[in-house]
Amino acid sequence: MGACFGTAVSAVWAVLDWRSVLYTEWTWMGACVICIALVGMVTGFAVPVRRKDLAASVDRRGDLQDRLTTAIERDSSQDTFDAALQEDAARSLDRLVPREVFPIRFGRWHLATLILALMAASVFLLGNSPVVLSEENRRLREELKKQGQAVERVTKQQFETPDAKREMSAEEKRLADEMRKYYRDLEKAHLSQEEAMQRSNELGEKADQLAKQAAQAVQQSLQQAQSARASMEKATLDANGLGNVSPQMAGMPESEREEKMAQAKAEARSIQKQLGELKRRLDEINKKLANPNLSGSERKKLEDERRDVEKQIADLKERAKANLDEQKALELSKAAQEVFRKMMEDPLYKKLLEIEKKLAQDAKSAAKSGQPKMTDEERKRLKEELEQLAQQLKDPKAMKEYLEALLKAAEEAKRMGRGVGIGLTLNHLGFMQAPPGPGGPGGGNWVGNVGQVYKLDKPTESKGKTSTSVVSGEVRQGSGPQAFVEIKAPSFVGSRSGIPYQNVLPSYERKAESALERQQIPKEHQKRVKEYFDSLTGVKKE
């Protein structure tokens, strides 16, 4: 019965596999049958058989004329015939051969098991066997399977490691589930190429989106880390009585400080000199004012002049004070720099700065181009290093905050790496490796960075409202196959901009010209850029 139920489950599974609802393999179906059969066997052994039933069955099978049933019922009675009955039943039982009483025979359950097994196998073969396919379809199917294996490999790498399972967010889990469904669809070749490519695009977009979100999170974490580091540096200065020194000044190079000190001293001398001159002039004015023969207008003029000089003297004194403070600060910054130098000599701090720098570069690169600088392995190592550092850390609160922020950034970076990894894989799948067909109208959308182009005969209809446009271009240089499909729709259905291109064209054109001016575009391509914008505006520019 267990085997029968097992094959029934397998048959249902095979149907679900055929309908692309729940995939299976031979091994899984076989394991299902064996497991349920074992459960049935164990249950069979575990469920007690009532003596009465067993006796009735043996009576029936061994033609004992109900001797056992009666004897078992009356095993404690002592009426006239009971002793003889027990003896008769025992003798009759002794004459039986158990193998003949309960022979292994092909019964209804066996037949049902066989039929269900055949059904399961047939349905499974119907959905999976390439025998019934044409040569071309078989080859396409093989290609899809290969793509599926590639997606499976990267999905497992990215999502099925113990670390990834522990760290994955809800969005990542959803993406992982979709990826699994996708690679199984591919491996089972239950998708057409168009569907496979569209799914690839959708999943790639989701992965990119995840990577971008993660990159933003990395940057936020890094900002927190920087803020924590600044607090930590300020705390260090406070601890050394250098609370007035800003961390920026403390980080000033020696030569710059000397230069600034010399400037300050020169300025101080200049101020002293100016002060002396102003004081002499003030004395002269005071002497002139002491003359009683001065007219009213002359006296007034001298008094105005004296006020002006006094104000200049006051300003100069202020400047002298500031200059003195600056000189003192520069003196203190030297001490602060010494403190920082000692702090920088701490290998732990040095390491943390190094990690921060790497993470910042990685996040910047990922956010900008979608391609991080570090590999997954490097990110993993980085996180491990941070965790080791965290164990060594017995420093103040600020240092701990800094480290925690870096750790968080490292985790986000790993997440970003997963998204980027998936996105890259999906974009590099290289669909449609079929022989070149007759093709439809020229042009189409690129899918993947491949080097050999095949175009599907059948264009894919989409829901876009725009008409088909022709985009001219050249095949990208490089090895490897390339493929594209013509989609009669906007390039990015569902995420397209609603702004008419005429509105944005001037801005983009300016940016392109600016780039050309800054010579960011190689010379050999500058002409092509100009031609492109000219073709859009319809104006020939020189």
Binding site: Q65, D66, T70, A71, E73, T80, L85, E87, F102, G107
Partner: protein
């Protein structure tokens, strides 16, 4: 097979009586055995068959081999109950004294019982059930063992009064006496037309019969076997929840509880004869027809379809057997 003194004695006695009876009765082995089973089970037998098939001879031979009193009552339409039970007559001392009728014997052959009026039939049937007769307000017990063997002619004739169902129910078995085969007929002719006639010897006594009846009651029956037997009885009830389709379609009335009692008792005798100490389902199957064929009343549809009680009972057995499944499915 283990030896058990009572069972062995039972079988031996049964065989001895059978052998003696078969010395006179040619063939009819099943009928002879069934009559003996009824005797051992303390039940009355209704024999149905054409005249001249040896019914009277069978009963007489049985009485002789058992050393029992035998009387024969030839029922006729003008027969009165007193002709069966006996009557009070004025004696020499001017006192009424009871003169016993033919029913006061151990084995009574009620020949052509369906020729008597219902009044006389019921007097006979009362004696069968109560094992006593009441005359003039006084009860007279019959001698044990008391065994009535009634015969009736299956052919509908004028001046017959078919036995009502309630009275038929009092018969333990109804046996259909078949015609003898050609070989059996030859043997009958040779035996009865030659010079030497075989006479059965008495090989058992009145006490032996009573002892046999006591032994039969000791045979155990398992719950499952009893359940099986009762299922067969219930399957004859056309309106019951366990009715078989055949009973629902063809029966007006099913078996009474007496049918169940008779079935089990007859099964016990068969078990002992088979050398077993328990009743089996096979035993019940074997005795089902003689026990129930006169206890089920068929309807008009059965007659129209040519169904007989035996055919209906065959279907009842099949119906119950289908439901009696092996509890272990391997």
């Amino acid at each position: 097979m283990p030896e058990q003194p009572e069972a062995t004695w039972f079988r031996d006695t049964f065989d001895r009586v059978r052998t003696e009876v078969q010395k006179v009765i040619v063939g009819q082995h099943d009928i002879v055995e069934s009559v003996l089973v009824g005797m051992a089970a303390n039940g009355h037998i209704l024999l149905e068959g054409m005249p001249g098939l040896g019914k009277t001879l069978l009963v007489r031979s049985l009485a002789k081999s058992l050393s029992l009193d035998f009387s024969r009552i030839q029922f006729t339409p003008d027969m009165m109950p007193a002709d069966v039970t006996g009557t009070n007559v004025l004696g020499e001392g001017r006192m009424f004294e009871f003169r016993k009728g033919p029913v006061f014997a151990n084995i009574v052959l009620a020949d052509e019982i369906n020729r008597a009026t219902p009044k006389t039939q019921s007097a006979m049937l009362e004696a069968m059930q109560e094992r006593s007769v009441t005359v003039g307000g006084k009860r007279h017990d019959l001698h044990e063992p008391f065994l009535v063997m009634a015969t009736q002619n299956p052919v509908e004739q004028e001046g017959t009064y078919p036995l009502p169902e309630a009275q038929l129910d009092r018969f333990f078995f109804k046996l259909l006496v078949p015609y003898p085969t050609k070989d059996e007929l030859r043997e009958v002719v040779l035996r009865t037309t030659g010079s030497a006639e075989q006479e059965p010897r008495p090989v058992a006594s009145r006490e032996d019969v009573l002892q046999m009846r006591a032994i039969v009651r000791e045979v155990p029956i398992a719950e499952a076997v009893l359940e099986y037997g009762l299922s067969m009885i219930v399957a004859t009830h056309p309106d019951g929840s366990g009715a078989s389709p055949a009973a629902t379609r063809y029966c007006r009335f099913g078996s009474s509880p007496r049918g169940a009692q008779s079935l089990v008792t007859a099964g016990k005798v068969h078990a002992l004869l088979a050398g077993r100490f328990n009743v089996s389902k096979d035993d019940l199957r074997k005795v089902l027809k003689p026990v129930l064929r006169h206890r089920i009343l068929l309807n008009f549809e059965a007659e129209a379809d040519g169904m007989t009680p035996d055919k209906v009972l065959d279907q009842v057995i099949s119906f119950v057997d289908e439901r009696d499944r092996d509890p272990i499915k391997i």
